[in-house]
């Protein structure tokens, strides 16, 4: 999936540029006719189909994928952080359709403080997955009933999977206050 496209979002240095082929299918055609330029890219790379979308229409398209295109199982939601990019966060959904035995990856780009509508109304299993994305990256999900940290303690400061959080960095305040030791390192 190439980030170097002329249309938004702007590409940046150090981006992965795999060799992908455009993905041609009725689904793609339907989405492109409906959303036009919102669908930045639809490609097949290493045997996997991927859609790159604009963040404003992604929620609707997820709805369409679930209701009309029978993608009834949300396998995973995750994010990737590209700090040098204008819209640093890549939010990735991996979807699977039981009736069609097809897997699909849907990606969108998010800006620094941008939040995204929660997918819980579409697939209820995205509850904890979104909490983990929030915990690790700080991406907020609107409409999530209980958006708080899941793996780290409630009052931890910092979002560990961001690239500006060091590998041996820790929330020293929390460690000192709660564990009574100087540092966990």
């Amino acid at each position: 999936m190439s980030e170097e496209t002329k249309s938004p979002p702007p590409g940046s240095a150090g981006e992965p540029k795999p060799a992908g082929r455009p993905w041609v299918s009725p689904l793609v055609t339907k989405l492109k006719t409906r959303y036009g330029s919102g669908v930045f890219e639809a490609s097949t790379c290493l045997g996997q189909n991927c859609l790159v979308l604009d963040s404003s229409i992604t929620h609707e398209i997820l709805n369409i994928l679930s209701e009309e295109e029978e993608f009834d199982y949300c396998v995973d939601i995750t994010a990737v952080h590209y700090p040098k990019r204008e819209k640093p966060f890549d939010l990735v959904w991996i979807l699977y359709s039981f009736p069609r035995n097809q897997r699909l990856r849907v990606k969108t780009m998010l800006a620094e403080q941008e939040s995204f509508p929660s997918s819980i109304p579409i697939w209820s299993g995205t509850n904890w997955l979104e909490r983990e994305v929030y915990d690790m990256f700080g991406i907020r999900f609107d409409g999530h009933p209980d958006l708080r940290r899941i793996l780290l303690p409630e009052d931890w400061k910092g979002y560990p999977l961001r690239k500006d959080y060091g590998i041996i960095e820790q929330d020293q305040e929390w460690v000192q206050a709660n564990l009574g030791i100087e540092s966990g390192q």
Partner: protein
């Protein structure tokens, strides 16, 4: 489309100004240390007398930052870390990771390596299910199957030890194939094992399957429908027991599974008893696969041509395998350097544990333990 309206946190009492003696509701804490939670899991129950109104799981006690570590290790160096997630079925974790990186590198493991991988993975599936059976029975009160299953699991661990030197966190596979050739007597050991185990599985079934106390404790306990499973993303034996005949080994085959003939056991009701039956059947099917693999083990190299310094071309890939607990997926983003840019592990136990709340509503307190056991979670995988 199956919905669910998100439910509020169960931790609020309906009338918070009353004390626990006034109202009927009680908040009970099954703390991180508890004999029956299979690891460090905290479960907060909201009870009305004996009935469970809601459950909240607090996890993260075993969070070790595996995904962050992945970004700071080379592809080969990260391989031992994945064993430590689902430490009960370490071989499957390794298989998933190696196959994902092989997809990125666009290489394929040779056939002999694939067969060895399948044999070890299915042995590990057996070991994982045996451990599940022992601990699940122990939670429900039958102490003896635990010892029987551990005794038989010893045989599997002996085979692993002879093969790669480790019993539990095996690091059995390498990117591109297997490092170790099968030891002298590997086929003989595995064949002896395949003959030794079926009567043992019959023994476990004899103790439990038609035992009326077992049936009463597990039938209609923790029911979940197929639609709920799909909406929640629950996979593995839990999904199959609810009636969905789906197994990644058949739907999106990997390794040498297309060569083998096996069945996917399916349950009807989605309750604990069906999950028990499905896992018992899976054990037998695993034996079938191992037998076919050992008898048809091809000759040839066990390692593909992998560059010494692995720099997969930039790209991202998602690959999943059917781990004993469910769909174990790896999403790896590569930026062309020797270290992955992002490693995401999609843990089956994490997603399955979300279903706990739905499964125990309206049931009794003693059933919570049974349902946690039947979900077969490993906290190492939930927390990573």
């Amino acid at each position: 489309m199956p919905d669910s309206t998100p439910h509020p946190s169960p931790l609020e009492l309906s009338s918070p100004d009353k004390t626990f003696l006034d109202s009927n509701e009680l908040i009970l804490n099954m703390g991180p240390q508890h004999p029956a939670t299979h690891g460090v899991l905290r479960v907060i129950l909201k009870l009305d007398g004996e009935k469970v109104l809601g459950v909240e799981c607090v996890i993260g006690y075993l969070h070790r930052g595996v995904e962050k570590i992945g970004e700071n290790r080379t592809y080969a160096m990260f391989n031992p870390y994945v064993d430590r997630m689902d430490y009960v079925a370490a071989v499957s974790n390794g298989l998933g990771y190696c196959e994902t990186v092989e997809k990125l590198l666009q290489i394929e493991a040779p056939p002999r390596a694939n067969y060895i991988r399948v044999i070890l993975t299915e042995l590990n599936r057996l070991a994982s299910h045996m451990l599940w059976l022992g601990t699940h029975a122990l939670d429900i009160g039958a102490m003896t199957p635990l010892f029987y299953t551990f005794r038989d699991r010893e045989e599997i661990l002996k085979i692993f030890e002879k093969y790669c030197g480790a019993r539990l966190t095996t690091h059995a596979f390498r990117i591109g194939g297997c490092l170790y050739e099968t030891y002298d007597g590997f086929e003989r050991d595995v064949k002896k094992f395949i003959d030794f185990v079926p009567p043992k599985i019959d023994e476990y079934e004899e103790l439990l399957t038609s035992n009326r106390i077992w049936v009463e404790r597990t039938k209609n306990v923790g029911k979940i429908s197929a639609a709920d499973c799909k909406a929640l993303g629950v996979t593995g034996p839990v999904l199959r027991a609810s009636g969905v005949k789906w197994d990644i080994r058949k739907a999106l085959p990997y390794a040498a599974y297309p060569d083998f003939d096996f069945e996917i056991p399916v349950g009807a009701n989605g309750d604990t008893y069906d999950r028990y039956l499905v896992r018992m059947q899976e054990m037998r099917q695993s034996l079938r696969i191992i037998r076919q693999a050992v008898e048809g083990l091809p000759e040839g190299p066990i390692m593909a041509k992998v560059p010494k310094v692995m720099k997969p071309p930039a790209g991202e890939v998602y690959h999943s395998i059917e781990a004993p607990k469910g769909e174990l997926g790896y999403f790896i983003v590569s930026d062309g350097s020797t270290q992955p840019y992002r490693v995401r592990v999609r843990p089956p136990s994490f997603v399955n544990l979300q279903a706990l709340d739905l499964m125990v509503r309206g049931q009794l307190v003693a059933d919570v333990i049974a349902v946690i056991g039947t979900l077969d979670i490993v906290l190492g995988e939930v927390d990573r």
